[in-house]
């Protein structure tokens, strides 16, 4: 286990951070293959070999750059009938202020390791929510999968493919439309 505490402050922390920031940006914009270590290093204004020193190889860099916590809000606090809308709003929020998710979405599609990582994140963080609110806990994986399909589809259309209508919709409109969908996927007895 890598403890989050007890991290001895190093003189190179600034550089490490610059590399990570540049990596996130490049991975999000270009995907795994087209985001080159050389370009990331250039953005961070250091030599490509530093990236290797600090993160081992390209895969290690991506792993470090894509460490993310969805930080799903505590849904025990919200009314059961507001779960859908709350989830959609939260995801819109996260996606907009943190390009890591866009990066993961891009990478998850070309890189098998990325796909597994994305799958893991949604499984670990969305599934418990589904398990708590859906009528039949045994059906929770299905419900979570359906929610993921709508939420990922929204992100795909909006942040990756940039379909104009999906970009034009305001966050509120988007939540108005998608909220009931997710709500239904989670809490409806049957389709």
């Amino acid at each position: 286990m890598t403890e989050t505490a007890a991290a001895p402050p190093r003189r190179s922390d600034a550089t490490r951070g610059a590399i990570l920031a540049a990596a996130r940006e490049r991975f999000a914009a270009d995907g795994y293959e087209r985001a080159t270590i050389r370009a990331i290093a250039r953005d961070a204004r250091i030599d490509p070999s530093m990236v290797m020193r600090y993160y081992g190889n390209k895969e290690g860099l991506f792993a470090a750059a894509s460490a993310i916590d969805l930080r799903l809000p505590d849904l025990t606090a919200v009314a059961r009938e507001d779960v859908g809308r709350t989830l959609v709003t939260h995801f819109l929020d996260v996606w907009e202020k943190d390009e890591v998710l866009t990066a993961m979405l891009r990478v998850g599609i070309t890189n098998p390791a990325g796909a597994e990582r994305m799958q893991g994140i949604f499984r670990d963080q969305l599934l418990p929510v589904a398990r708590r609110v859906c009528p039949d806990p045994a059906a929770a994986p299905q419900r979570a999968g359906l929610c993921a399909s709508q939420i990922l589809g929204m992100a795909l259309a909006r942040y990756v493919l940039r379909f104009p209508p999906a970009v034009a919709l305001s966050d509120k409109e988007m939540a108005d439309w998608l909220g009931p969908t997710v709500q239904r996927y989670l809490t409806a007895e049957r389709p």
Copy 2:
């Protein structure tokens, strides 16, 4: 305009076809960047230079390999309240028997040209449907965008990321869940 008729039969048609088939498979499986011309040529059992001769360059090959017609069914024939389910069923059908769509989805995410092509396909073929059935024709692009987000999200989860729950759902179950969603996006007066 490239007419579909009047194509003079060439001696190399078999090879051209083999290249195209191999290209579709590779693009679908690996995405644009990781699908190499050399690998495609190897699959088609010919020399890489033949690919160049017949399709100019990699981009041209992809353009040829991703020429697709969604062949949306004539929705004027189906009852207005069945449009959603019909659409979902049709897309599931197309996606399952033709890997071109998976290829385009993969490529649209890493390659800007691919994104534009995918956007064009959905705009040209899904938008007219929306325009016909949605209450306010001016809102048709929004509605089409919402539908695209759910349909693409389903395809993403099922055929690209291969989320187990999304894979496990039968076509019928999927249509049962997604049909009403698409129906609502298309025909609801307001969210």
